[in-house]
Point group: C2
Chain length 628, copies 2
Amino acid sequence: MKLILPSGDTITASPHFSLLDNLKKGGIHIIAPCGGGSGICGRCKVIVKEGPYRTRLKEKLSDQELADGYVVACQTFLKGDLKIEVPPASLLSTEGAVAAGKAEELAESFNSYQVAIQPLTIRVDLELPKPTLTDNVSDTARLKRGLAQIGYAKTNFPYRLMRELARNLREANWSVTVVLVDMDYGKEIVRLRPGAKGEDQGKYGLAVDVGTTTVVVYLVDLLAGRLVDSAATYNYQIIYGEDVISRIIYATDKGGLKELQDIVIDNINNLIESVIDKYSLAEECIDSIVISGNTTMTQLLLGLDPAWIRLEPYIPTANNFPITSAGRLGINVMPDAPLYTMPCVASYVGGDIVAGVLATKMHKSDDLSILIDVGTNGELVIGNSEWLITTACSAGPCFEGGGLKYGMRATQGAIDSVRVNPHTFAAEITVIGGGVPDGVCGSGIIDAIAELFLAGVITPKGQIRTDLGLKNFRSTASGGEYILYQNENKIITITEPDIDNILRAKSAIYAGFKVMLREVGLSFEDISNYYIAGGFGRFLHIDKAIIIGMLPDQPREKFKYFGNTSATGAYLCLLSAQLRREAEDVANKMTYLELSVSRQFMDEYVAGMFLPHTDLAAFPSVAELTAT
Amino acid sequence: MKLILPSGDTITASPHFSLLDNLKKGGIHIIAPCGGGSGICGRCKVIVKEGPYRTRLKEKLSDQELADGYVVACQTFLKGDLKIEVPPASLLSTEGAVAAGKAEELAESFNSYQVAIQPLTIRVDLELPKPTLTDNVSDTARLKRGLAQIGYAKTNFPYRLMRELARNLREANWSVTVVLVDMDYGKEIVRLRPGAKGEDQGKYGLAVDVGTTTVVVYLVDLLAGRLVDSAATYNYQIIYGEDVISRIIYATDKGGLKELQDIVIDNINNLIESVIDKYSLAEECIDSIVISGNTTMTQLLLGLDPAWIRLEPYIPTANNFPITSAGRLGINVMPDAPLYTMPCVASYVGGDIVAGVLATKMHKSDDLSILIDVGTNGELVIGNSEWLITTACSAGPCFEGGGLKYGMRATQGAIDSVRVNPHTFAAEITVIGGGVPDGVCGSGIIDAIAELFLAGVITPKGQIRTDLGLKNFRSTASGGEYILYQNENKIITITEPDIDNILRAKSAIYAGFKVMLREVGLSFEDISNYYIAGGFGRFLHIDKAIIIGMLPDQPREKFKYFGNTSATGAYLCLLSAQLRREAEDVANKMTYLELSVSRQFMDEYVAGMFLPHTDLAAFPSVAELTAT
């Protein structure tokens, strides 16, 4: 039996496996947050156009979806040839096209540091003299002597490699490639294989950003120092809660630590599989990994009990993590591939922020900069080459599409920009990848709220006015909704609860700015650069973010949108030993300011719950726009 | 149901378990070289005096044994209460009484070094300040800071301890005991537990001698630096061959490496269980282990492929081994207990010989000494504080009772000394522990051959004269036998093949002496001390060993019998970091001389196949005795 795709491509399929598994075997990876097969999340949707099948779990689908032939792939089994279509939103897609431009950006970022490419592993080719009765040192001693002769003295030799050393050296006829890794305590031998100069095995590395909402994997050519491709999906842990606090509760009070760890590792493995499948690479081609995540994501990934991150005085188990191996965590690459974890700063400022500092280079400049990373949490860093201070303000996941009725990640099918006609109040939208939208991402929702506010559709308190005779309006039990898009069988709206969510989030961020600046005796004017990071979308409109009062009303040229700086920082550290040291310096150097106990922060937060702000004088350019 | 012992003690027993297992549960440990339960070796013999049972494997027992009620314990199941007796030879016994004197000897040996007690683990008590909002470093950083404040900076912190660190620190209310170990690359944290100053947990260590024939475990009080008790048994690997070569062949050609590793670890675990049971200690009381063995035994224990030890140019995988953990090898003590392996010198001079040098202190003296360690192999060391040279000469296991018709280890029931009446040619024997003998050990057989040679019963070529009308003689298909002991149902003899074995062994040792001395341009007279080590028995008679031509005919005061120096050296290294460093220095310093390719050695070996030697002039005192 076979599956026939719209392109005409076919996949040989078995009736004994689910549609999800058949697609996976055929190299098509579907998003399955609950792990696939359990039917918990119902997100692995595909459309059956023609052919016989049996399916379950119809209750996870809307009437419209059922009418359109949607099925839950992990609960569907074919009974003959099927013509199917995978909707873009279901596709755990690599980002080949996107990567082209991104590869240039990343390469530029790396080149600007002017450091050598030094991945986690060091490869050394050795031609050892064969043992004789007069040169009869042990195999271990012979290998160490060979390494010492080319400058690698005192290498640490783990037991697991001793086991087969004698056979391996002889089978390689004493010509071996030794792979070393720099541990805290010195160089350690990772692996040994027959000498093969210049071959490609272990040529690639992975930079992995484990966000609360999104997991991103970059496949990097370690020899060329170049991004090859990337893949991203939701963090499958979201079925256990959208923010870090609910994950911590699940991990601790409910004993789900191992489960959450397994899920995110499965997550990463799915992404890895999708990228290496695409390039027909073997798992053995992946030589090393750098992981970047906030402190909770890092602890969950490493299986470290996160209970006390949540409880005052908010203490993580560790901020610095020794290099471990991919195999130890169950990540499906070369099992002994070293895995480096970006150092964290405190319970609510993690390795992703340290990565962000590296990506923006704010720590190299004499000018004062602010980095604001809006992920599921919001983190701020202020400083320059002399000092860095950091804090976290709970923004919630709405800028990544979380907690919004039609929210989604900034991926194919997301509405990423919105204009509102000031006369008709109708929306003009753009959709990532074009076509019919599946939802709205962070930049889209910011655009929409700013435009609707300017158009007078939304009040400063965030309510949708019902006295304007809006066509793009509908009323529901939970409040009014502004319709962004509608066709005969699809609707995408912004709801009043969505707007409230955004108000809270932007207010937390702005309050963070204010309190931190006051702490160091500075004002917005003193800051030369505002670096914005996060998964809003590729085209965050700074002016719109200022209109809603998320960003301060400063000259537009001070702002720069950096995208996913966590992944960028991981990429930089994957390529350079010096940048890994720099990341550790940055982490150690940062002073952490705890806002959760700050009375000032609460006052500022409440004051920020308006569009753009209760203190309109602080937003003169917005005041001017609304006055017209 | 129950088992009733001659003492009147009873053991609750189940009909579903074998007699062997029932006894084990009752704290009585029986020698079971094949692991117990498989019925391969048939050595776990016990006597059933009364009661119903079913049994198998009678073919492993002699008619006499069957008549006496012997059964193979692992193949016997009770059907009601049984009165049983465990023959001393079957008992995997601890050596309480022996240990008393031995403890003094070992303590003296240690004290003579004038070094501090510094076991593998270092225990540090820490009172950490509780975290607050202003002192909010991570748990790992807090612990490391605490350690740094008392002088342990840069401790390496393994992942496995991070996992539960947060909970452990809080449950201990920030008062913890940290156990550290010195790795090649610096101090590493082994374990962490609630602070408890002065308590006994982890108070004990084990010094383990893994010989080809015998495995010995010393239980040592690490605080007092004192031997508590010891236990010994055959190396269960002997069922796969008596010497290292046959074990290597089994491990490699027959793929039995894992099996041999498992057997010896099972072996060690049985001994550990027997000593800790005796003192009602928990496995957690054992804090660290030092292992001493020849190179092959060491590699088999660590699971390192020994194939190339056997093949020219005879290369071991390693001579120096990083510290590992008992748990990693499956040794049943505290799983994270560090395990130190005595460094080896070459394929046929192992950690047991390095231990022997430490035990004799020959490397501390300006005088020239020779160490001769007669185990299953024979190893020689010549030197002083300036230089050391070493070699190995294949002696075979006969001095440990191996390969002899009635041979046995020097343990309870072994004939350990023999006098032969020069007129009646009758033997007077002494038996270790008294009573009826079970066999003859190394010192007994040396005595017997020397005495029979002097009495003219054995010819210089090793044949038993049949023309003397010997009463203590019997003739069998494989040659003549001299009867050492006989009662109505037991006989112990020395056979002509036994004598031939001893001739080969002693000749190999003497040839080793000669070739090594020639190599360094010295003669027997230049040597001030002859240190003899090995498991002959507690009362090796030096003069008898000279009569058979195993030792050179030198003044008797030059000789000292040291017993099991491998275990002594392991004990010294268990107690002292400085002595561990000294062991490594000794191992590095020793020059290894390969005899297997020496023509000279073969010539000397052939010349030594007489009693005492073809060159009688080299044995003037023996010549004098035989002349009378």
